[in-house]
């Protein structure tokens, strides 16, 4: 049997040492009425057969080429340097446990410390945690922080926040008796104003105005941001947001049907004690050597139990490592290039799409970075037609927003080369 190590002789010798005749003698505490004869599952397979079976399932999916993928909506195709997988596939990283024993986990701890610093630099805030599950739960956790911080029990979602993030926020909020309000102005009941920059449609909002409005009402400002955009856009720390969160998939992670990716969260230092999840800090040994440890554990569930800031335990360390490798590979100028090229191509594409007969920018007065909404005649037929030509076209956002009937959002990144844009436009004109 694969992955089992005991030989029949080992088992006999071990039973003899224990002083019992069979493994059944060790299971005497289980009531007989509960004992199963066998599991209702097929018998095991050889690795060859296993992989053939799994590959057959993979073969029933259709994968669109990177360069012909123009769909985003929270998950994006980007160039992933080979260094990322080369590091994350090192078994010393991916088969290690949560670094409770610091002296035996310095590799993971230091990598996470670097990740925390990278996220703090990108967001312009004081402290980042070690990672959360995804962008959606990061938004929800930030809202819970605000509620605990100021005791208010309403959060205000401003503008087009990713609809699935709103759904997760609602699920978390309901559990804590917090109301989620969409639109309107913050007031003295508002714990936090949450906005996305760029928003779900790709449009840029005025984060300074939103932050000021939040603060004027005594609420916190939570900015949900695209990490690549922070190479060029003002970071939350610059416009005074209290908490920054977001989805880190673009930092070196494959789409993988939506996960695993990584949620990030960073905040001002006044809020650090309310941050959920793990934090890594520096410490020293008796010889004065610098090392890294899990810090401020007193906020966490294994110490505080029902009084913990969050129940999160396992988080997304390996994805955080991928993000750290990606950001370190890119450096400040590489990351800026990625953002600028994506910007240029998206603007070139927007111009060409808006010139198609019957097509128009859905919000012509609004600015965007590298994703944008277009109002399109017969939008579902358009998407189907593109798929037939091997192109993953825009995302139909009317499934979440009734007022956006006929609106598709298109996204461009550095992987959609000029020829891919030509192919897209040609397919639409045909």
């Amino acid at each position: 049997m694969p992955y089992l190590v005991h030989s029949p002789e080992d088992r006999s010798a071990m039973l003899e040492t224990i002083g019992v005749k069979s493994i059944n003698d060790l299971l005497v505490d289980i009531p007989q009425s509960l004992r199963l004869r066998s599991l209702q599952l097929p018998a095991g397979l050889s690795e060859f057969e296993t992989m053939a079976e799994v590959a057959a399932l993979a073969g029933r999916n259709r994968v669109f080429p990177d360069r012909l993928t123009f769909r985003g909506g929270g998950v994006y195709r980007r160039f992933i340097p080979s260094a990322v997988a080369a590091v994350t596939s090192k078994p010393e990283f991916y088969t290690a446990y949560t670094p409770y024993q610091a002296e035996a986990s310095q590799g993971t701890l230091q990598a996470i410390f670097e990740y925390q610093t990278l996220i703090a630099e990108l967001t312009g805030l004081d402290v980042s945690n070690a990672s959360l599950y995804d962008g959606a739960t990061a938004v929800a956790e930030a809202a819970m922080m605000a509620h605990v911080h100021n005791g208010r029990d309403e959060v205000l979602v401003s503008g087009y926040l990713h609809p699935e993030y709103v759904q997760v926020l609602r699920a978390f909020s309901e559990a804590r008796g917090i109301k989620v309000r969409k639109g309107g102005e913050p007031n003295k009941k508002t714990a936090a104003v949450i906005f996305q920059q760029p928003d779900f449609l790709g449009l840029l909002v005025d984060p300074r105005a939103l932050t000021t409005a939040a603060h004027d009402a005594g609420a916190l400002a939570i900015a949900c941001v695209d990490p690549i955009s922070l190479a060029v856009l003002a970071p939350p720390g610059e416009y005074g947001a209290d908490i920054a969160v977001g989805e880190g998939q673009q930092l070196g992670m494959a789409p993988s049907f939506g996960g695993p990716h990584v949620g990030f969260i960073a905040c001002r230092k006044e809020l650090v004690r309310k941050l959920p999840g793990r934090l890594v800090g520096t410490a020293h040994d008796v010889q004065g050597r610098r090392g890294f440890v899990l810090a401020l554990a007193a906020r966490e569930q294994h110490i505080r139990r029902e009084k913990a800031t969050s129940n999160i335990c396992t988080n997304h360390s390996l994805c955080a490592l991928a993000a750290a490798v990606y950001l370190t590979y890119m450096g400040p100028y590489g990351l800026r290039q990625v953002a600028e090229v994506s910007f240029k191509r998206a603007h070139a594409l927007a111009e060409r799409l808006a010139a198609l007969p019957g097509w128009e920018m859905a919000f012509p007065e609004r600015r965007f970075l590298n994703e944008f909404p277009v109002r399109v005649p017969k939008s579902s037929a358009v998407v189907r037609k593109l798929a037939r030509k091997g192109i993953l076209g825009g995302l139909d956002v009317s499934r979440w927003f009734r007022e956006l009937k006929g609106v598709l959002t298109f996204t461009c990144t550095e992987v959609n080369d000029a020829k891919a844009l030509d192919e897209l436009v040609a397919a639409l004109e045909s």
């Binding site: 095991g44 699935e164 003002a234 400040p332």
Partner: protein, 499 residues
């Protein structure tokens, strides 16, 4: 041995990486966007050439213990071998390259895999449906409690309390509190099992659920589980299974048959998806029929071989994560289940129980065993006697094991055992490994009697020695209170810290 931080190795003069399209013309960002939307200065990211970057991370990797090289006897964590075929499966372009918002027709294979994994997990734990959405065990606990709450509300009941044994994982009370319940602790009896009398005294019409892991965190099977289930159900409350210890009895018995109404599973424990240095994992939740309407949305449905994502669940608790869960981890777990089969999973659990009892026997002369055996897949020993006699604590033993190339057991948990040392060997550690671990324990205990001071100074063979966490916490406090510029939780260039 230590490694500088990437920030300390950074050389800004190194050429930036060559990226597609960098030389292209087109709209300049600064011409289109108003200045107030733009960043005033670039983020302080480090810059390393690729050769330097690869060496940096390779060195960091070498500072880690990992299951690929070391035995991890971590109780409750089920650190077993992570099959490499799982990794190959998840990396298949037909999975890794899928966008979550592709049309259903183009992702039939992915949905089929999710559906089959759900069926397999239902068979292992004895439930009717499973949601694959939760990203980790604690997330699964929370999801299950939300479903229980919604179910009870739908019946017009407003139950407000969740009972949690004193030996439970810390996530249990945290998840209960964060899903809107008050936590009531249930005491363990002298045999380490839940006290039925105490349970009875705490059950009331306010009780929404009892959260239980079985075998419990002491590695002991709750013999009276059927009576517990009857008692809980008789008050109209539900029984929740914490699946952290599922590795004890796959194919031997099932939580569903014991009377549990909701069950979470950790794919990163029982089903060999790698732990990743602290995730990503996956925490699917299985439920009995009465909770099915409340499952997170969407669910995967299969009709005549055609798969769909069903979003129409009016009573659903909603969505607990974006998209469909940690899909890559689901691929790994399914690959493992295919390879093992029903027979293999059963043998895995039997071997896990055998290994735990064997190792328990080998060390029972050296460490205190607060409870009688046999144990299931793990056992809890105590260093209380060494602490009294020689001042050697569980932590000292943990650190001394690191020096002998073993990762440490879980220590100081469960809270009901003083100086607890919780050991879970799993089925993928050989007899020879278990023998050498027992030998190391023997040596350490002998040293505790002859040279306790030496043990306080371990580990000595690790990249750094014992790190002063108390001093670190003091420095963090100083920073948070504005008395120090050193943020401790991130790197700052020396010039910034000095200013």
């Amino acid at each position: 041995m230590t490694e500088p931080l990437s920030f300390e190795l950074s050389r800004p003069a190194v050429d930036p990486p060559r990226l597609p399209g960098a030389e292209e013309g087109g709209a300049a960002l600064g011409d289109v966007l108003p200045g107030e939307l733009l960043r005033s200065r670039p983020p302080g990211l480090p810059r390393l050439s690729e050769p330097e970057l690869m060496r940096h991370y390779s060195r960091l990797a070498s500072l880690n213990y990992s299951i690929s090289e070391n035995f991890y006897p971590l109780g409750s964590c089920t650190m077993k071998y992570n099959p490499v075929a799982n990794e190959a499966a998840a990396a298949l372009p037909g999975f890794a390259g899928l966008h979550p918002y592709q049309d259903e027709e183009t992702v039939q294979g992915a949905l089929e895999l999710m559906w089959r994994l759900e069926q397999a997990l239902c068979a292992v734990v004895g439930v009717d449906r499973v949601t694959l959405q939760p990203a980790a065990g604690a997330h699964g606990e929370w999801t299950a409690l939300r479903m229980i709450r919604a179910y009870q509300h739908s019946k017009g009941e407003a139950r407000t309390e969740v009972l949690v044994p004193d030996s439970a994982h810390g996530t249990n009370p945290a998840s209960a509190a964060l899903s809107g319940f008050q936590v009531v602790e249930v005491l363990s009896g002298p045999d380490g099992r839940i006290s039925l009398a105490d349970l009875e005294s705490k059950l009331s019409p306010r009780t929404a659920a009892l959260m239980l892991t079985n075998p419990n965190t002491l590695g002991l099977f709750e013999r009276e589980i059927l009576d517990i289930a009857e008692l809980v159900h008789s008050t109209g409350a539900m029984l929740y299974y914490d699946g952290a210890n599922l590795n004890a009895f796959m194919g031997i018995c099932r939580p569903g048959d014991m009377g549990f109404d909701a069950v979470h599973m950790n794919l990163h424990k029982t089903f060999t998806t790698p732990h990743g240095g602290g995730g990503p994992g996956a925490g699917p939740v299985g439920v009995k029929s009465e909770l099915v309407p409340f499952l997170p949305s969407p669910t995967v449905e299969r009709t005549d071989g055609h798969l769909t994502l069903d979003h129409k669940h009016p009573q659903s608790i909603g969505r607990v994560r974006s998209f469909y869960g940690n899909f890559g981890m689901l691929v790994r777990a399914y690959t493992y289940i295919l390879a093992m089969g029903g027979d293999g999973l059963s043998q895995a659990s039997q071997d896990a129980v055998l290994s735990a009892n064997y190792l328990r026997k080998l060390v029972e002369g050296d460490l205190e065993m607060p409870h009688d055996g046999p144990c299931m897949h793990e056992f809890v020993a105590s260093a209380n006697h060494l602490n009294h006699e020689n001042g050697v604590r569980a932590l000292d033993i943990a650190k001394a094991l690191l020096d002998r190339q073993f990762y440490a057991p879980t220590v100081y948990f469960p809270l009901v055992v003083p100086e607890a040392i919780m050991v879970e060997p799993t089925e993928t550690e050989s007899k020879a490994t278990l023998d050498s671990f027992a030998h190391a324990i023997k040596e350490i205990v002998a040293e505790a009697r002859t040279n306790p001071q030496g043990l306080h100074e371990e580990p000595k063979n690790t990249p750094v020695g014992r790190l002063d966490e108390v001093a670190a916490a003091r420095r963090i406090n100083a920073y948070l209170q504005g008395q120090s510029e050193d943020p401790v939780l991130r790197w700052k260039s020396p010039s910034e810290t000095a200013s």
